[in-house]
Symmetry: C2
């Protein structure tokens, strides 16, 4: 008898680089996923897909510029932790950087809402399943 | 006049999953890179290249079996931090898991030397440039 074995190997590995922007009061920026996107209405760390040829740091610098109209530098990004999560259609590997030094005031470039939140208050915001396990690392750090 | 601009974009992103095996005394296993390999003689965390179709956790389970003849499970691996380092020929992205639960006694399957080391003593072992920044995270954890 043959049984269906779930083939996790069919899933691609999606690489996303994310960033915890930290302000002078130790609050971290989260952004709301806009309507129409998957996981719409959930709050996440800014970032995006690592494009071919990019380092994760270059992805973060580009995404912060595109999504939030702020500037930072590769040298201003420090590795903190990462998420590894099996979504239905892909496996996500998401390194999370911390950035305390950036230029400009973040403004959602696609109309998305932004919040500066203390890590211990992040549990009050619904986050994607991959993002939630990152919170304790921010609580420890800040 | 045209000047040579270093093309960092030509470098591939190499994905390696690594693991800090922790024993009951809070010591972490490091393994010596065998002669003939790049960075020979340096000490590193066990792990290896994420093969197509693998999750990072599956890579670690496989590599621990192949390199050290021990068994663990995906559920026994917890994300800690990651390394992102620009080597000459590639950019390395290396998530580091922590594993406190495994079966068997690690024995180098390729003759490589092993050491159980307290994180605060790791500075006494020469490590690849990507691995060294991971040590403070282990000191904090253990």
């Amino acid at each position: 008898m043959t049984e269906a074995i779930p083939d996790t190997h069919a899933k691609p590995l999606l690489l996303v680089a994310a960033c915890a922007l930290v302000d002078a009061d130790g609050r971290v920026l989260i952004t709301e996923r806009p309507p129409g996107k998957k996981l719409a209405g959930m709050w996440e760390f800014p970032g995006g897909k690592i494009e071919p040829g990019e380092t994760p740091e270059e992805t973060v610098v580009r995404e912060l510029r595109e999504e939030l109209a702020i500037e930072t530098k590769v040298a201003c990004l420090a590795p903190l932790t990462f998420a590894s999560h099996a979504y239905d259609e892909f496996n996500l590997l998401m390194p999370l950087f911390v950035c305390r030094r950036f230029w400009g005031t973040p403004v959602g470039q696609e109309g998305q809402r932004l919040k500066w939140v203390r890590p211990r208050d992040m549990r009050n915001y619904e986050m994607p399943p991959a993002d939630a396990p990152l919170i304790p690392f921010l609580i420890d750090l800040l």
